[in-house]
């Protein structure tokens, strides 16, 4: 039976188990959308392609499956690029399918032509421009395989429209085997390296585990917990690693880095062994490079060999999948008491406990997030935007299980959280999904309110409304003499009315005592709700280690009572 290219593609997507495709149609993908119309794949129409891309990404982060998004050629495809780059930086499995002009028009500046394989080359793990209908099955197989194995990442498939209308009467390949001689991810750690690592751990007097997003990707949170408990190892996580280790555990040091806890940063500065697992020594973590873990031997467990010794020289590299490596490592780990080290950490935890001044009439952002954490008992899926809202969430929500934080770490994309929450809600229909937003970021993809209303997705948006691009304002306050250049959002709309105009519910919180009842009321409704929280305009995120500095330079004003 002859099939069109569009049918071949959609059949392949069904074959790959795709449930949802997020996207917006256009000339170059008309044939594709026509086939989707009566396919088992549910098409989610967003209001901007960036929203489609982030939704596919959020779906992938919440479920661990490959997220799929679609856009037409030219502007549709270029609108996807921020979402593709966001997924690339955080190693998220995603396949983006873009329409392209007819093959014979490629390179002629045709209507709605953009060289999307050229544009996305540095922000994809791989990309394809399909030139022959018979390549579609192979390309789809390879794209899903590449996106979801090794260090995951986005793959773009660019499909000229005339291929989608052309017909092919088979035979269609039956197996889904891929043959990629240049792509062989390594999953098993070298046994010798694992033994050396175990020995270093057993001999360490002051070890710290520094766990990143790799814990979530490899699904090794249980092995990590076992490792920490067996070896009596304190654990700090990056933003991407939040949820990979229970923050209510006594071995947890919570998040490290620029806005991490001072006790995590002190522990890393003082440790004699740093066990990095699925983390990449990003500058937001290390601060001043040559003073990062200056006394420590460094073990680095990572699936990406290029991450090893990229910014910091590693002593004991172990390349492979973290879950396999930890499983091999566990039996070699001895129970060691390390009384002094744990005493020291306990003291730091007491001295540098995260806290804030909860006085005043206006609700404090930290308080709002703590309340969300309490009400949801850490079980919700929390998306964030970027800025102060994101850092307060990382600090004050107690994350205890993987895939419960969905946040743009590497690229720091404002406007990510809300559409990502849409994807997460579709992927986890039974969970409470909340986007903790900033007033600036929310307006970057506010149009997706139409999407949540249309698909009846009960996503909650809690806006930390400070009337500013707050994080940038904070830097201006501290480093630019309060010259608030381009950061005051003076003419913010009434977010409650905006929500209502789209057909969602809107609530407002203006006083501390309204926080709990309003949140409870909103979370009880199985409908989209926007909650506009008026917080102080000049609230800051502390602690704050300025870029390129060390924990000794941390700005801690207001973090804890009178300490300096």
């Amino acid at each position: 039976m002859a099939k069109t290219g569009a049918q071949v593609l959609v059949d392949m997507l069904v074959n790959k188990g795709v449930e949802y495709a997020f996207g917006i149609p256009g000339g170059a993908v008309l044939p594709l959308f026509d086939v989707l119309y009566d396919s088992p794949i549910k098409l989610i129409l967003t209001r901007h392609e960036q929203g489609a891309g982030h939704a596919a990404d959020g779906y992938a982060r919440a479920t661990g499956k490959v997220g799929v998004c679609l856009a037409t050629s030219g502007p549709g495809a270029t609108n996807l690029t921020t979402a593709i780059a966001t997924a690339f930086m955080d190693s998220i499995p995603m396949v983006a399918i873009t329409g392209q002009v007819r093959r014979k028009f490629i390179g002629s500046d045709a209507f709605q032509e953009a060289d999307i394989t050229g544009i996305t080359r540095p922000i994809t793990k791989h990309n394809y421009l399909v030139k022959d209908i018979r390549d579609i099955p192979r390309v789809v197989n390879e794209a899903f395989y590449i996106a979801s194995t090794g260090r995951c990442g986005p793959v773009v498939i660019d499909l000229p429209v005339d291929i989608t209308t052309e017909s092919w009467d088979g035979p269609y390949p039956e197996d889904n085997e891929v043959h990629l001689p240049g792509y062989k991810p390594r999953y098993q750690g070298n046994p010798r390296q694992i033994r050396i690592a175990a020995e270093a751990i057993n001999n360490a007097k002051k070890p710290v585990v520094y766990a990143g997003g790799g814990i979530i990707h490899s699904g090794c949170h249980r092995e990590l917990l076992e490792l920490a408990e067996k070896g009596n190892l304190p654990v700090t996580t990056t933003l991407m690693g939040l949820g990979g280790f229970p923050e209510d555990h006594e071995l947890s040091l919570r998040m490290l880095g620029m806005h991490g806890t001072l006790y995590a940063n002190h522990a890393v500065t003082e440790c004699d062994l740093l066990i990095a697992i699925g983390a990449r020594f990003d500058d937001r973590i290390t601060g001043k490079l040559d003073e990062f873990a200056p006394h420590a031997k460094i073990i680095h467990i990572d699936i990406d060999p290029a991450s090893i010794s990229k910014t910091i020289k590693v002593d004991i590299p172990v390349v492979g999948d973290a879950k396999n490596i930890l499983t091999e490592l566990l039996p070699l780990i001895q129970q060691v008491e390390r009384k002094e080290w744990h005493e020291q950490i306990k003291e730091w935890k007491k001295k540098y406990r995260l806290s804030y001044d909860n006085n005043g009439v206006l609700p404090k952002p930290q308080y709002i997030i703590e309340q969300i954490s309490e009400i949801t008992r850490g079980k919700a899926v929390i998306a964030t935007e970027v800025g102060q809202n994101q850092m307060w969430t990382a600090q004050y929500y107690t994350f205890t299980s993987p895939r419960t934080l969905i946040s743009s770490g590497g690229l720091g994309t404002m406007g990510f959280g809300f559409p990502a929450a849409i994807g997460a809600q579709l992927g986890c229909p039974d969970k409470t999904v909340i986007d903790i937003a900033g007033d600036g970021s929310f307006q970057m993809n506010i149009q997706e309110l139409a999407t949540v209303v249309h698909y009846k997705l009960p996503v909650k948006v809690v806006i930390m409304n400070n009337g500013y691009l707050g994080m940038v304002r904070q830097w201006q306050e501290l480093f630019y003499k309060k010259r608030y250049s381009g950061t005051h959002l003076e003419d913010n709309p009434d977010f409650v009315k905006v929500a209502e105009a789209y057909g969602a519910k809107g609530f407002r919180i203006e006083r501390k005592e309204e926080v709990r009842p309003t949140l409870e009321k909103a979370l009880a409704i199985r409908e989209p709700v926007v909650i506009d929280c008026k917080i102080g305009q000049e609230e800051n995120v502390y602690p704050f280690i300025p870029a390129g500095k060390t924990v000794r330079d941390a700005i801690i004003e207001g973090t804890f009572g009178g300490m300096a």
């Binding site: 080359r121 290029a306 990229k310």
Partner: protein
Amino acid sequence: MVQGKYNFPVPCNLLIMRHVITALVENKVGVLARIAGLFSSRGFNIDSLSVGETESPELSRLTVVVRGDDSTIEQVRKQLGKVIDVIKVIDLTDTPYVERDLMLVKVNVPPGRRGEILEMVDIFRGKIIDVGQKDMIIELSGTEDKLEAMIKLLHTYGIKEMARTGQIAMARGTK
């Protein structure tokens, strides 16, 4: 430790060294763009890059001459290895290998000096492949040093045009 430029010791691993790296890549559209893009986006400094067919039609061999300290070169190798279309990456610098660069130079021939130029080309084992009224084209292949030496000498006559392929290289013997 090695003696550095200003006469104080520099740790070996921080020395900027010239490395010849070859990679076997799939002979597909866009591979060269991928690799060239990788070098520019990661800020690697390359002296030359050349690509051509190999013994098998579906593979190309790429040779790149790059300068950097140990950790930069390690990143070059690893980042190249991450490109899906790259099958194998070898840094030839630590093994016995041969390298060749091919050059065409159009050089001025001042009246009465043809003989000395011919003699020099002969010494370098180059070839004259075109002779004009006032100039000639010389073909020369060899190592970078040899080509540089020839260029230096030809400057005295005046070089009108020059084209080079960049290095290609191969390990000696069997492995």
